[in-house]
């Protein structure tokens, strides 16, 4: 009986530990998402705002269009400190998949910038999403 109680107690501890590990692993492989509302673009690069890479993802910043983009676009991330370019991605028209802008480090701040491809004209009131 005593052995059974110990076994049950040990099992409870083990299960709790396993759950904690699972939650921790889930958080470590997660991302933070931020909706980008009305990212109005022209052929001249426009700055939307600033964001930071989270402490739970893969130290990269990604962007996708939520609204099916009518034009090819160029989306970039620049330093919040000196505006130097960290990285950019060319996103073809009608592509709504995530594209990596750059890989940096946790809590790295960046300014989200974008434009339409040369000759494409403006693209207004399209929403996107950052994975960070």
């Amino acid at each position: 009986m005593q052995v059974r109680r110990l076994t049950a107690g040990t099992l409870s501890v083990l299960l709790a530990a396993l759950c904690a590990c699972a939650i921790s692993a889930g958080a470590a492989s997660g991302y933070v998402y931020t909706d980008i509302i009305d990212f109005n673009l022209t052929e001249t690069t426009h700055t939307y705002g600033t964001f930071s890479i989270s402490g739970v993802g893969d130290n990269s910043a990604y962007y996708r269009w939520v609204d099916d983009p009518a034009h090819s676009t160029v989306i970039s991330g620049n330093s919040c400190i000196d505006l130097s370019l960290y990285g950019k991605s060319d996103i073809p028209a009608h592509d709504v998949a995530y594209h990596r802008l750059f890989t940096g480090s946790a809590y790295q701040c960046f300014a989200l910038r974008g434009r339409t491809a040369t000759g494409a004209g403006p693209m207004s009131f399209y929403d996107g999403r950052i994975q960070r």
Binding site: I81, D82, L83, S84, A111
Partner: protein, 188 residues
């Protein structure tokens, strides 16, 4: 541009008036022992919120002019400057609010490095504690980071402080090189 500058001027006058008033009544702002950096920091923290909408879109030249105005109200540690910000390389436009945010976060980074390196520690501690509330930073991504840094400093260290300092150090090297290439002095 004119409307934005007018608003900034009004904001600066309001802040200056508030600081003088607080000093006369002996509460709210900096105490007599605080120096200019701490006073500037507290004035920025007391300044009203920027107008909603991000302000006018500016090209690199206009952004640099606005940044020069903003810089006069932002505290820096000794030897600090803003010569490493790439206004002249900026293609397209940037909102006036982001211009101010970049200048202020650049300054915050210089204070984070100063505190880590043991320079002007008393001022640095006060400025780092205030920075999340600065006019151009509060309510933005940089404000969240600055709040995290302040909390980690109080706790004696933490992931946000480590991550932000990593970016600040990398930016510092980049800025010094950029300033030198432009024939200007780099920040300390």
């Amino acid at each position: 541009m004119r409307a934005w500058r007018r608003w900034l001027l009004v904001g600066a006058l309001v802040v200056a008036g508030a600081a003088v008033s607080a000093g006369q009544h002996g509460h709210g702002a900096a105490s007599a022992s605080d120096d200019a950096a701490t006073l500037q920091s507290r004035q920025l923290a007391a300044a009203p919120d920027l107008p909603a909408g991000g302000g006018e879109d500016l090209d690199g030249r206009s952004a640099a002019a606005l940044a020069a105005e903003v810089a006069t109200r932002v505290p820096l540690p000794a030897g600090g400057n803003f010569n490493g910000i790439e206004w002249n390389e900026l293609d397209g436009t940037i909102g006036a609010a982001v211009v101010q945010e970049v200048v202020e976060y650049n300054a915050a980074c210089q204070w984070y490095r100063a505190l880590r390196d043991g320079r002007e520690v008393a001022d640095a501690r006060r400025v780092v504690a205030d920075a999340a509330g600065w006019q151009g930073i509060r309510g933005r991504a940089t404000g969240e980071l600055a709040a995290g840094v302040a909390a980690d400093v109080v706790a004696g260290g933490g992931p946000v402080l480590t991550g932000v300092l990593r970016q600040c150090d990398a930016a510092h090297q980049h800025e010094v090189a950029y300033a030198a290439a432009s024939g200007k002095a780099g920040e300390r």
